[in-house]
């Protein structure tokens, strides 16, 4: 566990915490982008270069922008007077903590059984492409279909209604 690891983890966690706690929604989106970047760096650390770059491209380049767009479109002029957190935020926090506790407990229990270190795999894009076109062609096509459906669906959902509220 090198120093780089801890630094990147600190960045990522800071970004995530910021993303869920900031008052200004746009700031949250930007913090989210930082978190995404941190995760991408972690992917690179784990020798999953393709996944890391795909993360940057898609998440930071598309999803984060999309979120910003959505924030812009749903912005009301005033910030809510009653605060950004719900009335029972403590219950939610507790539940999240419980989830972390359970997961951490599972990990730490099995920690001794986990492999200590292994050789870094060498993965080329060609291998990934061949796998996509070969073994994983069906999921690929299905994902393509899914994306098409999501595209059309999002357009329909967000479209202005004919005689409705305009």
């Amino acid at each position: 566990m090198s120093l780089a690891f801890y630094l990147i983890v600190a960045l990522t966690v800071a970004g995530a915490v910021a993303a869920v706690t900031l008052r200004n929604t746009v700031h949250c989106a930007l913090a989210l982008s930082v978190a995404f970047a941190g995760i991408a760096l972690l992917f690179l650390e784990l020798d999953a270069q393709f996944a890391g770059f795909a993360q940057i491209l898609i998440y930071i380049g598309a999803v984060a922008i999309l979120i910003v767009f959505a924030i812009m479109l749903t912005r009301s002029s005033d910030t809510p007077a009653t605060g950004v957190f719900s009335k029972s935020w403590l219950a939610g926090l507790a539940i999240a903590a419980a989830v972390f506790a359970v997961l951490g407990w599972a990990v730490l229990r099995t920690a001794p059984m986990l492999p200590h270190d292994s050789a870094a795999p060498v993965v080329t894009v060609q291998q990934i492409g061949a796998a996509l076109m070969g073994r994983y062609v069906l999921p690929l096509e299905i994902v393509a279909l899914l994306l098409t459906a999501a595209l059309i669906g999002a357009v329909i959902v967000a479209m202005h209604e004919k005689a409705g509220a305009k």
């Binding site: 690891f5 983890v9 966690v13 995530a16 993303a19 869920v20 929604t25 949250c28 989210l32 978190a35 995404f36 972690l42 992917f43 784990l46 999953a48 393709f50 996944a51 795909a54 993360q55 898609i58 998440y59 999803v63 999309l66 979120i67 959505a70 924030i71 479109l73 749903t74 009301s76 605060g83 950004v84 957190f85 719900s86 935020w89 939610g92 926090l93 999240a96 903590a97 989830v99 972390f100 997961l103 951490g104 990990v107 920690a111 986990l114 492999p115 200590h116 870094a120 795999p121 993965v123 796998a131 994983y136 999921p139 994902v143 994306l147 999501a150 595209l151 999002a154 357009v155 959902v157």
Partner: protein, 103 residues
């Protein structure tokens, strides 16, 4: 602690943070942000297991993660579309006030 365990813990922490955000924020978009964080934590889990598990050359974990990213993107698009549509109707994104299904 093994590196794998460390990554797993990080993923669990990120997941918990994302969950906390999804459960406590009033704004619908921030709930979606939390969900995105949870998805990313899962992806991190997947890649970590790919790297430190047996047969990383089978690319199973990598593929899983890539597809997960694609699906997450699609889901984010649809979800935000929904939020926009709701906003058009109710002029707000406050989840606390959206309890028409109360029963």
């Amino acid at each position: 602690m093994t590196p794998l365990a460390g990554y797993l813990l990080v993923a669990a922490l990120l997941f918990a943070i994302g969950l906390a955000g999804a459960l406590t924020r009033r704004n619908a978009i921030l709930v979606l942000i939390g969900i995105e964080l949870m998805l990313n934590a899962a992806n991190l889990n997947l890649i970590a297991f790919w790297r430190y598990g047996p047969h990383p050359e089978a690319l199973t974990g990598m593929m899983f993660a890539i597809f997960s990213i694609a699906v997450a993107a699609a889901e984010a698009a649809v979800g935000l579309g929904l939020v926009i549509s709701i906003h058009r109707h109710t002029r707000s994104t406050d989840l606390d006030s959206m309890n028409r299904m109360k029963g």
